[in-house]
């Protein structure tokens, strides 16, 4: 664990996936995730792995579906417009109870949007990662080291519950360079008796599908999957906080924005406003009860995002009216400054006084 490397976020996450025994990567070029694919293209052939450039994101995610059904730890990586194309495959992967990792290095949208950092795919990731009643584990790193740690965790948790996982990063984290270290040893994936490996004429055929034409059967399957989702909600929530102990004003932010909010909290405190930060690390499952608990101890909440306000819905659901929630956001690829956010915090304090 001790050795430190100076790496770009996108490269660090790719290296983490390789160290986590992922040997199958399927992609399609798009900014700002390009380095992930480039890194894989370089490394995979040297270690007997597969890097394949697909004809589209639609094909790439379906190659992941195939590789995952064959039992491999498989992944794909893209950015916002590409993720829209992958949603079909993500729905099928979720419905087929397959684990797989999808990276979204978010950029500004909608449409072709821009190529600068953004957080405007929160709803897509947490609400509608594809059609149907399905969820996706969603991890939101806020440092390069966390990119590494969460990639490993995403693979392991996805396999444990047999569901797809997404690492929701943004262009800023992807491009940022920071020192990182990798765990010395990462456990090999557990055996997958359900995988399509050929029967060897020794067992009955394994079937992986998502079609259930009898409504009662489909309902039963979906309900069973939601029982697993309940377990995920109980066991897999991750969150972090900064200077919340004595805070009167709580900022809620995730990903790269949370780093900027940390600096903003410092500035606000220098100006005499007791601010603190709550940072969800899993966006689904959302740290709802944890946030509700923290909300009891503050007088105002400010949610900050690089979007027009998406996660703020979850903040409001968690807080459930016990304390006022305001929102501040920049969009289109504009990254807010710590000063800008500090001003929002102090304005809240002034409004209350």
């Amino acid at each position: 664990m001790s050795q430190k490397y100076l790496m770009k976020g996108n490269e660090a996450l790719a290296e983490a996936a390789i160290r986590a025994h992922c040997r199958h990567f399927f992609g399609y070029p798009i900014t700002p995730q390009t380095e992930v694919a480039a890194y894989m293209a370089k490394r995979m052939p040297k270690i007997g792995g597969t890097y394949l450039q697909a004809e589209s994101e639609v094909a790439a995610i379906n190659m992941v579906l195939g590789a995952a059904s064959a039992g491999a730890r498989a992944m794909t990586s893209s950015s916002s417009p590409g993720i829209s194309l992958k949603t079909e495959g993500i729905s099928y992967i979720a419905a087929s109870d397959l684990p797989a990792l999808i990276i979204n290095v978010m950029r500004g949208g909608p449409g072709l949007g821009g190529i600068q950092p953004s957080q405007s795919d929160y709803w897509q990731a947490t609400r509608a990662p594809g059609h149907g009643d399905a969820q996706l584990l969603v991890y939101a790193p806020s440092s390069v080291q966390e990119m590494v740690d969460l990639v490993i965790r995403a693979f392991e948790t996805g396999e444990k519950y047999r569901c797809p996982a997404m690492l929701l990063a943004d262009g800023m984290l992807g491009q940022m360079m920071e020192p990182v270290s990798f765990p010395d040893e990462i456990a090999l994936p557990a055996s997958k008796p359900w995988a399509l490996t050929g029967t060897g004429e020794k067992r009955r055929p394994n079937i992986i599908n998502s079609l259930y034409l009898t409504p009662s059967q489909l309902e039963e399957i979906v309900r069973k999957r939601f029982e697993r989702y309940e377990l995920i909600k109980q066991n897999e929530v991750l969150w972090d906080s900064y200077r919340l102990e004595d805070a009167e004003y709580m900022v809620v932010a995730y990903g790269a924005t949370a780093r900027i909010c940390k600096a903003a909290v410092e500035i606000a405190r220098e100006m005499g406003v007791k601010a603190g930060l709550f940072r969800p690390v899993t966006l689904w499952p959302y740290p709802t009860s944890q946030l509700a608990e923290c909300a009891k101890k503050v007088s105002r909440i400010l949610c900050v995002e690089m979007s027009m306000g998406q996660m703020v819905d979850d903040v409001r659901l968690a807080v459930n009216g016990t304390c006022p929630v305001s929102f501040y956001g920049r969009t289109g690829g504009i990254v807010p400054t710590p000063e800008e956010i500090a001003q929002q915090i102090t304005a809240l304090a002034a409004a209350k006084a």
């Binding site: 597969t50 697909a54 004809e55 639609v58 379906n62 490996t197 060897g200 055929p205 599908n209």
Partner: protein, 255 residues
């Protein structure tokens, strides 16, 4: 008592849901027999389409996965890249393969992906109740071409084997039919060649099978067999379109 005929081990005992007289069943049997005869049933993974064959995972006696509509060649690519030693095949209709999945088909072919594609051309969308397919013949009446396919308006049918013939990654491409006993024999030989081609690592192989859809053509099963002979074969000539080894590296290519 001597056994003179028995059902192939390549099919399960599950009763199929195909309409009476539909030739999907014949093609299933040919594929299953070839897998059994080649002794590869235990190392085969099949990919089902979205179309009438969507439930083929219940019929083939090997590991099976169901792909989204048109994506079977991409799913098969993922499987094959994980298990290059296994036999991987897709079974797809014309809407699946030549409309929504055109990109996946062409690019699996250009990569010379070492998989086998069984392509059912019945000139119609069977499962959704008989709409125009990319292979619907000029003038053919379907639910969505009620006055007959007007090529000036809806365009021309896609000739898949002719298209793939010019793709360098295609090792084997043959068009067959299952409307007569002689054609069925030829179809089986082609399917076996395609799987053999995969076993030899020669590249992408595809067998197009002209098939019937009596239900949506509005014909009796016998009339439907005749329609294949009279209308389909003249437009889609039977025969071999490619038989080569695409994975022999050109001089100087460093891999």
């Amino acid at each position: 008592m001597a056994v003179i005929f028995q059902k192939t081990k390549g099919l399960t005992d599950c009763e199929t849901h195909y309409c009476p007289g539909c030739t999907h069943g014949i093609v299933h049997r040919l594929v299953a027999e070839c897998l059994e005869e080649l002794g590869v049933l235990g190392k085969t993974v099949g990919v089902c389409p979205v179309g009438c064959a969507v439930m083929a995972y219940d019929y083939f006696n090997c590991d099976m996965v169901e792909a989204p509509h048109g994506r079977a060649p991409a799913v098969a690519t993922g499987i094959k890249r994980v298990q290059p030693g296994n036999v991987v095949f897709t079974y797809q209709g014309d809407g699946d393969l030549a409309a929504i999945g055109t990109a996946e088909t062409i690019h699996a072919a250009t990569r010379g992906e070492n998989i086998t594609v069984i392509f059912i051309n019945n000139a119609i969308y069977g499962m959704t109740g008989g709409q125009m397919a990319p292979t619907t013949l000029p003038g053919q009446v379907t639910q969505t071409t009620p006055y007959g396919r007007d090529t000036g308006y809806s365009g021309f049918p896609v000739k898949v084997c002719e298209l793939l013939q010019n793709v360098d990654g295609v090792a084997f491409a043959e068009r067959t039919a299952v409307n007569t006993v002689a054609h069925i024999r030829q179809a089986k030989a082609a399917i076996k060649k395609a799987f053999t081609c995969q076993l030899e690592g020669r590249g992408f192989s595809i067998v197009e099978v002209l098939s019937t859809c009596p239900t949506n053509w509005g014909m009796t099963p016998v009339e439907a067999l005749g329609w294949v002979e009279e209308k389909m074969i003249p437009y889609y000539p039977l025969g071999n379109f490619a038989d080569r080894d695409v994975h022999r590296k050109p001089e100087g290519e460093n891999v």
